[in-house]
């Protein structure tokens, strides 16, 4: 199953991601964003993996996903790390707790300013899907 795909946008970046359930959708969306920031992140053999706790509450599941990606993006920029993995100890429609992990980097390949709510909506057919738009 395809995890995510980059779609065209006039000025910025759109990524469509899929998941069989909420957890998989969140993880694939995170992976999509991470591979834009550093396309070779999965090929880097880190000496040390950096971990950070995460705890978010949002009004609905779509906002939760956007807020999750925003939080990871902020941590990426502050720590100069690409956090591309996550483990959730709690994941509901409106909240999550868990841990993100990633690798320290010297620079990013793309400058993502923000994850936007623009036309973001988790949809369900056979799979859950969402298209997230990033301001770059």
């Amino acid at each position: 199953m395809e995890k995510f795909k980059i779609l065209p946008h006039i000025a910025d970046l759109r990524i469509k991601s899929w998941g069989k359930d909420q957890k998989e959708l969140f993880l694939n969306s995170l992976l999509g964003m991470s591979l834009v920031l550093k396309p070779n992140i999965l090929k880097i053999k880190p000496q040390k993996e950096i971990k950070k706790k995460i705890d978010i509450f949002s009004p609905d599941s779509t906002a939760l996903l956007i807020d999750f990606l925003s939080e990871v993006l902020a941590q990426n920029q502050i720590e100069k790390v690409v956090f591309y993995k996550a483990k959730f100890s709690k994941l509901t429609d409106k909240g999550l707790e868990g841990e993100i992990s990633g690798i320290k980097v010297d620079s990013f390949d793309e400058d993502i300013k923000a994850v936007t709510y623009y036309k973001a909506e988790i949809k369900k057919n056979h799979l859950l899907t969402i298209v997230t738009t990033y301001d770059i």
Partner: protein
């Protein structure tokens, strides 16, 4: 979606979608655009976004779009909306994630010919001194109370520490500082994103560009601005970096949660807003102001670093003067016909005409300078604000050429290496961090700047003073 049939031509270069087009519109939507560029506006959702802007509570007169209109978040890029100061809302989407992204023009005393031999050295000296690109921090790292002082004082923080002159502040919109800024309303995350980014350009369409004044249209205004034909000048385009992005992210998130408390219902989450006079509205405005101050400090620091390199290469007696510094992503409290309003400018530039007391004394008779950079490698313009713009557009004009092609398509159409070679064949020195980034910024990915400025001039929201052509460019 919209089509040409939905637009009514008001006069040459002015089209309108009437309020009756959609039930929730409170005012008409007005676009300054030529017949030639009109078709391009239907390729994306920008007009639909403009119609959404027309639904904002407290919006006055029109939802406006400048000729460089293209799709954004909430507001289209090139969008302007003035709301009633008491009853209207504030919307972070009407400012943008890059708070106070803006442009500063520096003028030398040299002609381009006199510095021709030194352009390459100057380009690479500045390229090495001013970090551009992704995740690269600046030389100055400020934390704690000092960082809060910078957020409060803006460009003045740096001038007080000898990173510039007092005169630099006079020739800066709002003197490089919004007094209402409150650093305590900026999150720690935003501060952490910003504290090593003072004096950095960033990437994307941000740049430092060396230019020559190719043609003067208005000799009197040019003289007042300190510009002459063939003059060597430098244009800086950057904003509030990660700090501003995080402030916008934080407050959009807050407003999405509290907006229902104010019985506000909008067609687009990114248009989220609260009453300007509410606690959240005032908190955002004060945090936005802190972000704006950071951006002015950023451009001040870059000015200092450019001056250092310039004096090193061209001699210590020589100086670069700030012509002016304009913001193009900001909300400002202004007065029109005796009425206080909050003007949102999202990818749009203030263009105050003659007689405005906010302008430095030297510019009171001409109106303020306006800078409209073209896409990389193409012309840029200096214009002056007009008295008419107050009535036509709440003293607003456009901010650039406006994208007409996606970054993805641009990378598929052009190769960065080829573009660099073509620019170098035209005797431009190019220092760029990313070839893919260069391809994204290809001139063909943007609208025709000459056509954009022609519209602005003909509508009367700003008047041409000078046309500039590039000699060298530094990009992330």
């Amino acid at each position: 979606m919209t089509s040409k049939n939905d637009l009514k031509k008001i006069k040459e270069n002015i089209y309108e979608i009437p309020k009756s087009f959609r039930l929730d519109m409170k005012v008409p939507a007005r676009i300054f655009i030529s017949e030639k560029l009109l078709e391009e506006t239907f390729r994306d959702r920008s007009l639909w976004q403009l119609i959404n802007v027309a639904t904002l509570p407290g919006i006055i007169k029109y939802a406006l779009a400048m000729p460089d209109i293209h799709e954004g978040y909430g507001f289209p890029i090139g969008g302007v909306a003035a709301v009633d100061f008491r009853e209207g809302v504030i919307s972070p989407g009407g400012i943008g994630y890059d708070i106070n992204c803006g442009v500063r023009l520096l003028a030398s005393t040299f002609s381009a010919k006199e510095v021709e031999e030194k352009i390459k050295d100057l380009t690479f000296a500045i390229c090495n001194t001013v970090p551009s690109g992704l995740g690269r921090g600046g030389k100055l790292r400020i934390t704690g109370k000092e960082f809060d002082d910078l957020l409060k004082e803006g460009a003045e923080f740096l001038v007080k520490r000898d990173y510039g002159q007092k005169e630099d502040l006079l020739f800066c919109e709002s003197q490089g500082k919004l007094d209402v800024a409150d650093p305590s309303l900026v999150s720690n995350q935003a501060k952490k994103r910003g504290n090593d980014q003072v004096g950095t350009i960033g990437s994307g369409n941000h740049f430092i560009e060396f230019q020559k004044i190719e043609k003067i249209f208005d000799k009197d205004a040019a003289q007042v601005f300190g510009l002459f034909e063939n003059q060597f000048v430098i244009l800086i385009h950057t904003g509030s970096r990660g700090l501003g992005h995080q402030i916008a992210t934080d407050y959009i998130r807050i407003m999405i949660r509290v907006m229902p408390n104010y019985n506000i219902n909008l067609p687009d989450r990114e248009l989220t807003c609260v009453p300007f006079q509410s606690q959240e509205g005032q908190d955002y405005f004060q945090a936005m102001s802190a972000g704006a101050n950071f951006a002015w400090a950023n451009r001040q620091m870059i000015t200092h670093l450019i001056r250092q390199a310039y004096q090193q290469i061209l001699g210590s007696d020589n100086f670069l003067k700030v012509v002016y510094d304009v913001a193009h992503n900001i909300a400002k409290i202004e007065e029109y016909n005796g009425k206080k309003v909050l003007v949102h400018r999202k990818g749009a530039t203030r263009a105050f005409g003659p007689g405005r007391s906010e302008l430095p004394f030297a510019y009171q008779k001409t109106g303020q300078p306006v800078f409209i950079p073209g896409s990389m490698g193409t012309a840029s313009y200096v214009l002056r604000g007009t008295a008419e713009s107050a009535e036509i557009s709440f003293s607003s004009t456009c901010h650039g050429a406006g994208r007409r092609m996606s970054r993805h398509q641009a990378k598929r159409t052009w190769r960065g290496e080829t573009l660099k070679q073509e620019m170098e064949k035209q005797k431009m020195t190019v220092c760029v961090g990313s070839m893919a980034g260069l391809a994204e910024e290809a001139p063909g990915a943007y609208k025709d700047i000459d056509e954009i400025v022609k519209i602005v001039d003909e509508v009367g929201i700003a008047k041409k003073v000078a046309r500039l052509v590039p000699l060298g460019v530094i990009k992330g």
